[in-house]
Symmetry: C2
Subunit: 141 residues, 2 copies
Amino acid sequence: MLSKKTKYGLKALTFLAKRENRDPIQIAEIAQSENISQKFLESILLTLRRNGFLGSKKGKGGGYYLIKNPEDIPMTAIMRILEGPIAMVPCVSLNFYEKCDDCPDENTCSIFGLMLKVRDANLEVYRNTSLADLIGIKTSN
Amino acid sequence: MLSKKTKYGLKALTFLAKRENRDPIQIAEIAQSENISQKFLESILLTLRRNGFLGSKKGKGGGYYLIKNPEDIPMTAIMRILEGPIAMVPCVSLNFYEKCDDCPDENTCSIFGLMLKVRDANLEVYRNTSLADLIGIKTSN
DNA sequence: GTTTATCCTATTAAATCTATAGGGTAATAT
DNA sequence: ATATTACCCTATAGATTTAATAGGATAAAC
């Protein structure tokens, strides 16, 4: 399941990406427009700023704004920050590798190969999708 | 993240699939061999039996056994039973469709298209992998 | 210096996942 | 028959994660 955190984060990012200019937008405006708890969204935007996706400005006329071109923000980056590892098990994760505590040996694990294929399939999608693609015409089907 | 339920279920299924015959195997033996809490595994096997993957026999000499050929058990089926929907959001789910409560319109939702692609990528993998594939030689990479 | 709006940590509330408890039921062996 | 074995089944407790809130600190604008 996609967490609300990721969902809200993506909605906020697309909201900002859709705008013609990069003037700061207040949290309140995004929250209201996208139907998101303002405080919750606040913590999400903070995370996105700390990870280099957003810039912010304090005080009157302040708010958040995109710091990069939407074309240059791949889904892999956003998903890893908001949702965590793309892999379903740590032992096949590229960026969050960890040994599975209950698995004695990856080479004999029956699930390992499947999880590898799943990871690659998801990576393929996320790598080939940027924030810009999300605000464009909807994908077919 | 893959739940322990699914992980344990898959391990139990592969354990049973690997055997040469289809004699009943006790829960205790599977649990011990795969390092799984016996009571937890019990409830998982029960689910798998109720969904037509396993048969069971009571009393002495009883246990669980595979009811189908491993080749005829696609990952889609197992994942849906144990892990739930393959889609990350209900609005793109084939078998568990539901409208997202916070989304006014799927046609204008910026995430919809992405989630559709992710779902299809995962389906592609799960549809083309059977339980038999899990006990074979490990996938490359 | 007052207002505005982000910054930041901590805490609570809710939901989900994992595991256990404890007795019921049916099959087998003797 | 009856004792034993092993699955059947529901409920519940414990642990973890997710979602949301609280409340003040900091910095910019006017």
